[in-house]
């Protein structure tokens, strides 16, 4: 593999808070130098040179929540289709979520996903294993074994625990193995049959609703169990203002807690469900404007560590039905980087802080060395042309799932090239 110099890029590294024009030197898939060191470095005389003058270089995005569907639901998407979409949209690491259809109960399941991905090599795929057997919430999964084959965490996803004692023991057992538990906070009894946020719009549409308390009650319970068990918890997909308050306090109290939010929660609210738009049927549901404001505040003050896509590609039929009968979820992988950049453009977060939410912070949560532009870090990098205004359209989407409410939105900043461990996994046609 030839050495590589990315020359004169605006290097954006949220970890070191670097924002400077520099050269980045890559050898054997790893960043070996940053700055102007062409004269001092050996081995780089015949390196491939990429002129990145006027372009931004950022760490590849790390998506904490990608529902990759294969094996089990490959009519919705496959690792091939989705990692290709990831590479083209600046995402270099995906976290495979357990799901009743694609259960991660044992090392064989993890190895199968690895094996499929090894034949593709368009993105890193990290795996979050099952917390309980078949996600049934009754018996512990072989969490120790899952840790040995490299699972970055365990989770019961949206499936309920039979009771809080099972949740307690699962958290305790995971922490024995120093594994982060990825908790989806939901009190299933309060959510009973609901498909959207309980509030003005659900009342108007007559749709069964999920109160914000269905989430905050669960957050409070999990925090209490963290105090009991000393386990490390990552809260997945916050949607309610009350959850942000509880987690802010838990952080102040010194608990080992992190949290993420799905990018669409930062732009859409319950009002987008008016007219029964099935593309806005998501779980947790889009909530009220006040919740959205609290989520943005939580991102800004550091309560919420990461932004993820919560990518859920679906086949057409899954969304072609009356709202209640449609499957929840947005095909969101390709809008993760654009929506995050837009937070900076809109002045919600400074650029480096926004990028940190999709790079360094999620990397830390899954224990990945990626997510930064530093010497010794893997060369998972994205080159971006900042000033281009482009339209996000269904025709341009590479994901097998076209279920997005963001079709027709315009974004600044077009991905020119994506490297995974120094290999080009995507290159825009007009790039030089």
């Amino acid at each position: 593999m030839k050495n590589l110099i990315i020359q004169q890029a605006r290097v954006l590294d949220p970890n070191s808070r670097t924002d400077q024009t520099a050269n980045v030197y890559i050898q054997d898939g790893t960043i070996v130098a940053i700055g102007d060191q062409s004269t001092t470095l050996e081995n780089f005389h015949d390196a491939e040179k990429v002129n990145a003058n006027g372009l931004w270089l950022m760490p590849g995005a790390i998506d904490l929540a990608t529902w990759l569907r294969e094996p089990g639901l490959d009519h919705k998407a496959t690792l091939a289709s989705e990692t290709r979409a990831a590479a083209a949209s600046g995402v270099t690491t995906l976290c495979y979520q357990p799901d009743p259809a694609t259960s991660i109960d044992n090392s064989a399941a993890v190895n199968l996903i690895r094996k499929i991905n090894q034949g593709l090599q368009l993105a890193n795929v990290e795996v979050i294993g099952n917390m309980t057997f078949k996600l049934e919430g009754k018996r512990l999964c072989n969490i120790g074994g899952l840790k040995r084959v490299g699972c970055v965490g365990v989770s019961n996803a949206w499936q309920p625990f039979e009771n809080l004692n099972v949740m307690r023991r699962a958290m305790e057992y995971a922490s024995t193995h120093d594994l982060t538990v990825f908790m989806y906070p939901l009190e299933h009894g309060l959510a009973a049959g609901g498909v959207m946020h309980e509030g003005e719009v659900s009342t108007r549409l007559g749709l069964p609703a999920i109160p914000a308390a269905a989430e905050t009650v669960a957050v409070a319970q999990i925090i209490a169990l963290m105090e009991l068990t000393g386990s490390r918890v990552h809260f997945c997909r916050l949607s309610a203002a009350g959850s942000v308050r509880l987690i802010r306090q838990a952080k102040r109290d010194g608990l080992a807690v992190t949290a993420d939010v799905a990018a669409h929660q930062l732009y859409l609210t319950e009002r987008n469900v008016l007219d029964f738009d099935p593309l806005c049927h998501v779980r947790p549901p889009l909530r009220a404007q006040a919740d959205r404001d609290a989520l943005l505040q939580g991102l800004s003050d550091g309560t919420i560590d990461a932004i993820c896509s919560d990518h859920q590609p679906h086949e057409l039929d899954a969304k072609l039905a009356p709202f209640q009968q449609t499957e929840p979820g947005i095909s969101a992988l390709e809008t993760l980087v654009p929506l995050t950049l837009r937070l900076a453009e809109d002045g919600v977060l400074p650029l480096l802080q926004a990028l940190r939410k999709i790079t360094f912070n999620p990397a830390r949560i899954i224990g990945s060395p990626a997510g930064c532009i530093a010497i010794g870090a893997p060369a998972d990098l994205v080159l971006l042309k900042p000033d281009v205004l482009w339209d996000f359209t269904l025709e341009k989407m590479l994901s097998q799932g076209k279920n997005t409410p963001f079709a027709g939105w315009s974004f600044h900043g077009q991905i020119q090239r994506t490297w995974l461990a120094g290999h080009t996994v995507f290159q825009a046609q007009e790039a030089n």
């Binding site: 003005e200 009342t203 108007r204 007559g206 738009d277 057409l316 072609l320 039905a321």
Partner: protein, 328 residues
């Protein structure tokens, strides 16, 4: 298959063609004031026209109306059937629960197949909110959809027959205080009535019920909330009682029918709190002794049976306005 089949919002605006002509009748929400009066004016013509004369001018001759009832309701279906027949249409009743969807056919496939049988209008009732809108969006352009009740969302013809009945009895809406009582949470009728009453500039619209049966933020729809029945009934001109479904007790929404009847049932004593000429309405079927006492249901102030009669006229009016072109 339609070439541009893709999911997305189901805009309410699709029920109106340019010039405010009705294309479909899906919900009262967003319809203009004048159109609601036009529907009532048209219904008035059908009420005053003897049935025999109507048959001489069949506005919908050669048209086919299909009743698609995914949820059982003999009463409502029959009034739509009579309305369509009086206008000269051919009517086909499909009890969908026992046919195709039980075999796993999707809603869209069912609608497509019926479309292919030369239907002109679908009258749709379904347990899920938004179903009529869904069918209207994806049906062929020549098909009109009439919502006969979708989940808890809307029941626009019921609301319009109620408005028509109020107008017959009271004239103008502006000075009126109207109370809607009982299980508002699960009621599509209440939601459509609220939209109709506020569009018609009703003086005050109230909802009365325990907190468990009043949905979140309903005040944003322009109503006042009362949890005390006596307070809520005070000085009202119109009292609309909603049907209480038996299964509400299972969901921990109410302790017992008896307690509900005691706190929110309409009896003679409570009726005395309303204006002396107040009318009592109920969309039916009524639970005597639960939400309404027999003396009140059958009393002089009750207009419950007139509502049923008006239901046919209003449904004729809406069908005629959608499919039959201009005035009768």
């Amino acid at each position: 298959m339609h070439p541009h089949l893709k999911p997305g919002p189901l805009p309410l605006s699709m029920q109106l063609a340019p010039g405010n002509k009705l294309n479909h009748f899906l919900t009262v929400e967003g319809l203009p004031y004048q159109l609601l009066h036009d529907i009532m004016d048209r219904a008035e013509q059908f009420v005053t026209l003897p049935a025999k004369q109507q048959k001489k001018a069949p506005l919908l001759r050669g048209k086919t109306v299909m009743n698609l009832f995914f949820e059982n309701s003999t009463r409502t279906r029959v009034t739509f059937e009579i309305a369509a027949q009086r206008l000269g249409a051919d009517v086909i009743n499909l009890d969908i629960r026992t046919s195709s969807t039980a075999k796993g056919e999707t809603l869209l496939d069912t609608a497509r197949n019926l479309e292919a049988m030369n239907a002109d209008m679908f009258v749709v009732r379904h347990e899920h909110a938004g179903t009529a809108q869904f069918i209207a969006r994806y049906a062929a352009p020549h098909i009109s959809v009439l919502n006969a009740g979708d989940g808890r969302h809307a029941h626009p013809t019921q609301a319009m027959l109620d408005m028509f009945t109020i107008r017959q009895k009271k004239g103008a809406f502006e000075p009126l205080k109207v109370a809607i009582v009982g299980d508002v949470l699960h009621s599509r009728v209440a939601r459509s009535q609220i939209h109709a009453l506020t569009t018609l500039l009703t003086g005050e619209v109230r909802v009365i019920g325990p907190k468990t049966l009043i949905p979140a933020n309903i005040e944003r729809m322009g109503v006042k909330i009362f949890h005390d029945m006596d307070e809520g009934l005070n000085d009202t001109d119109v009292v609309i009682m909603l049907r209480l479904q038996r299964e509400r007790m299972a969901g921990a929404l109410l302790p017992s029918e008896r307690e509900f009847a005691k706190l929110y049932g309409l009896n003679e004593k409570r009726l005395a709190l309303t204006k002396p000429d107040a009318i009592v309405m109920h969309p039916g079927p009524i639970n005597r002794g639960v939400e309404i006492d027999t003396e009140v249901a059958d009393g002089v102030r009750s207009v419950i049976l007139e509502q049923v009669t008006n239901g046919i006229a209003v449904r004729m009016a809406v069908m005629a306005m959608i499919m039959g072109g201009s005035a009768a």
